[in-house]
Symmetry: C2
Subunit: 217 residues, 2 copies
């Protein structure tokens, strides 16, 4: 596996994309327009293996595709990227169904929480793909360098396909994650999405976003 | 502070009550009836400082009162115990709004999650008391002996009153908790209640309930 698509041009997409380039992958960053200025700037500063295009271009390019979009637009982005472009691929869903409509701190978008999750909706929409939820529980710098938390925190994975989770585990290992818990099928993403409210409050209480959750056992 | 009320005769009430006795407190375990057989048996095996009675008896007895009831009956129990009996007291809410009506794994009771929490409803009902949410994120043996997790996990507290949280912190220290994060007011209990779905799934995936969450920072 060599080619990775990254959907989203924000801090998460930027950080994940740059780390993948450092690791030797070829990465296409996708956005709504074919030449989003943030995607152009990112590609320019990341060398020959970095490219950009539309969401659809990036989905077609990647054998693995990272969803680095805001949770309230993830499903719209997948429609733009065309669900069939993901068939047979591993889709790594980092997005969180945060609801800022009531102000800070955010709650979760009601239809995507408790008895459902955003990742389950992603898997339904991308029925030919293997969706794996992971990395959504830490800030983007910790995602690609867990030691930035100051220790060796735990990362969780949720997904229906064992081979896809092996692929994801290998990428997580390359990012520096040593303690990975496979929670089970994609419905277990409810658990990891629902710790975002605790993430936000821990960040507010400690004034430190560089932390991770360790399952002490 | 010497006298503690414990509402609930299940494993949580039993374990918390026995630990408090070991620490030198006097404990009254409360239940629906004045002589619930589990409460009688607990008192018998815990010596002269252990007693039992109704929920109201236990609420009147305690300067600090632990809520060790199932989340779906906590508010009913408080009505039976009479809210005015809690005036001026510290109420330690360990209960979780778990909803088993859809089978396993449980979800959270919708009206007590995401934009609300069970602890906020407890604080509203006990408007003269100082409610602190804590301990709800580990199994009851780890609550009173965090080292049973195999390490030094983090415990969170949420509550509106700083003095009440100092009292709770001192009890948590006596239970063996060294790493305590004060998340803020009682609304922050949304965060700790919402990690129960991850607790359940981690337990299912690892087949081990003796774990804690450490904030690695």
């Amino acid at each position: 596996m060599k080619n990775v698509g990254v959907l989203g041009t924000g801090m998460v997409g930027n950080t994940i994309g740059s780390k993948l380039i450092q690791l030797g992958y070829s990465v296409k960053m996708g956005s709504r327009s074919a030449s989003n200025e943030k995607a152009v700037a990112w590609a320019k500063s990341n060398g020959a293996a970095a490219s950009y295009g539309t969401f659809e271009d990036a989905a077609q390019f990647g054998e693995v595709v990272f969803l680095c979009t805001k949770g309230d637009s993830t499903l719209d982005v997948l429609k733009l990227a065309k669900p069939t472009n993901f068939n047979g691929k591993v889709v790594i869903d980092i997005s969180n169904p945060l609801d800022f409509s009531r102000g800070m701190p955010p709650s979760l978008i009601p239809q995507f929480t408790n008895t459902n999750s955003l990742s389950e909706e992603v898997q339904k929409m991308l029925s030919g793909a293997h969706v794996v939820k992971t990395l959504n529980i830490v800030n983007c710098e910790v995602m690609v360098n867990p030691r930035k938390s100051g220790g060796d925190p735990t990362m969780f994975m949720s997904g229906n396909d064992a081979n896809a989770k092996n692929t994801v585990k290998s990428i997580l290992n390359q990012f520096g994650w040593n303690d990975i818990i496979d929670l089970g099928d994609i419905t277990t993403a409810r658990g990891t999405e629902m710790i975002l409210p605790l993430w936000v409050r821990t960040w507010m209480a400690t004034q430190n976003g560089y932390f991770g959750f360790k399952i002490v056992r």
